[in-house]
């Protein structure tokens, strides 16, 4: 090494690249909480309903995990798994992206719907999956949710939805916007017949989903710390040119501003919703 090299700004090989042998823990065995940086066994996190034991941060659940956690064991029968997304605006690469998420999640689209039992009470549920195209709503999501609502209306049973969505599916254009209207007209009919609708907003619920069925529950619940809002934080910051508070658009923020009935931790969700359903049984009392 010459004298010149010592004073060089970009020294070659300054940092050591960690090779594969240096950490022999296989991918996925450990999980780091994005909130508190607590490192734990993924298995333990799963056992705790994906809630961080250290800081109570609610990690995102897949639709299937949610169904397993929420409904009576083995009671779930899915609906409309055969609907297929098409490419109405011929966006390059759109179908490929949908296909790859289908493989990743083993779902046909960003929502899983079906009939099941909650503490023995029949309900129709829809669970959105944010691992599928950010849970965004296109034609198939809108159609599956609408059919699920209609099924609940037909059976005169409560309709329960777990929302998780970035909003409308841009690649389907104005048709995706119209899914907001489609699901809403179905909910109107469901409600006009005296049927119950419970909306449970999970992280994240924004845009067109938040501005339609997610906000239309007879009872609106949310999981702790879930991001819920109409416009994106960055858009608002650019519009109003001020720094927004840290808790802006969290479930707790919404509760404080009168926009939610309650924030319910995941460990109490099943019991809470089941009690609400029980209190709405028409023959009761």
């Amino acid at each position: 090494m010459s004298i010149r090299d010592i004073f060089k700004k970009n020294k070659p090989n300054k940092s050591i690249t960690i090779t594969r042998e240096n950490h022999d823990i296989p991918e996925g065995i450990m999980t780091k909480c994005p909130e508190c940086n607590h490192v734990m066994l993924t298995k333990d996190l799963q056992k705790n309903k994906k809630v961080c034991p250290n800081c109570q941060y609610h990690h995102k659940m897949t639709a299937k995990e949610r169904i397993d956690d929420f409904l009576d064991e083995g009671s779930f029968q899915s609906l409309d798994d055969h609907l297929q997304t098409v490419n109405p605006l011929n966006f390059p690469g759109y179908i490929e992206k949908v296909n790859s998420d289908m493989k990743k999640t083993s779902l046909n689209e960003a929502v899983l719907t079906g009939i099941g039992k909650l503490d023995g009470q029949q309900v129709v549920v829809a669970v959105m999956d944010s691992f599928f195209r950010m849970g965004s709503m296109g034609s198939v999501v809108g159609e599956k949710i609408t059919r699920a609502i209609e099924k609940a209306t037909e059976l005169s049973v409560p309709f329960i939805i777990f929302t998780a969505s970035g909003g409308a599916r841009m690649q389907e254009g104005v048709i995706s916007l119209m899914q907001m209207a489609k699901t809403s007209v179905a909910l109107e009919r469901h409600g006009a017949k005296g049927n119950l609708f419970i909306s449970i907003m999970t992280h994240p619920t924004t845009g067109g989903v938040s501005a339609s069925f997610a906000s239309l529950g007879d009872i609106n619940l949310a999981e702790p710390q879930a991001l819920i809002g109409f416009a994106g934080r960055r858009v608002i910051e650019q519009t109003v040119r001020e720094k927004l508070p840290n808790d802006f658009q969290t479930a707790e923020f919404l509760l404080e501003h009168g926009q939610l009935d309650a924030v319910v931790p995941r460990h109490e969700m099943r019991k809470t919703v089941s009690t609400i359903v029980k209190l709405h049984v028409k023959e009761a009392i």
Partner: protein
Amino acid sequence: MVKTLPFEEPLVQLRSKITELKEFTSNADVDLSKEIEQLEQRFINLEKDIYHHLKPWDRVQIARHPERPSTLDYIKELFNDFIELHGDRNFGDDAAIVGGIASFEGMPITIIGHQRGKDTKENIRRNFGMPHPEGYRKALRLMKQAEKFSRPIICFIDTKGAYPGKAAEERGQSEAIARNLLEMAGLKVPIISVVIGEGGSGGALALGVANHVHMLENSTYSVISPEGAASILWKNAALAQKAAEAMRITAPNLKEAEIIEEIIPEVLGGAHKNVHKQAEFLKDVLLNSLNELKSLSEEELIEQRYDKFRKIGVFSE
């Protein structure tokens, strides 16, 4: 002086040449009247050629034209005895949405619409036609009032979208929009919505769950602005022109997708060229719609609205 749009540039140039030539002949001793006549003919042809072959991006620009007639302009032209009704009875009065009662060809109606400003001062007062939750709640209050008195409801849609602001979120922008979608679905009176300018996303749809939805020829209706779509899909807002085509947001596009009922023709060059004549076109379509919907019972109206929105969606089974 009416603002000219980029695609109208050839017209402006030809017009100035004609003017120049006219000035020249009046000062000089040559007769160029034949040439001028020819140029005038060429101008008319060029005008037709340009305005009959508008690209989606041209239409976006017409829809955003500062002189484009707004809700209040059409109210003045179409209705008598308009009385504006203010406030949501909870928080305040949002000037980005106007509403009230009026008489339309002798028939009492409720009219509600987004309202942009014509100049900076008015735009600030009206928040550029981007409503807060209280605007949507005012609209809903007036719709419920219309239902009570069995008045048809006419909505004019003209907004970039619901306002993305801190206060709007705190007061429940999502819930306000969602509530309108649901409540409009169940109203027992005819609802007709007309997109008169920009129909931007949920903020537009909140006045759009109607029995009949029409669009002016050069209006747009979309899930996101072309600029927004370009920045999300291609990470570049400058590709808005391309996005305007790809997103299929024009009246002919929506008619083809069977989302709207009628395309209301515009006067050559856009509604701003002649508000009075444009209002006549609008009136014809509104009257037809009202006559058709008046024959439906309350249940049939709700049923028809349900079917209209229920069938929207493209997928395979």
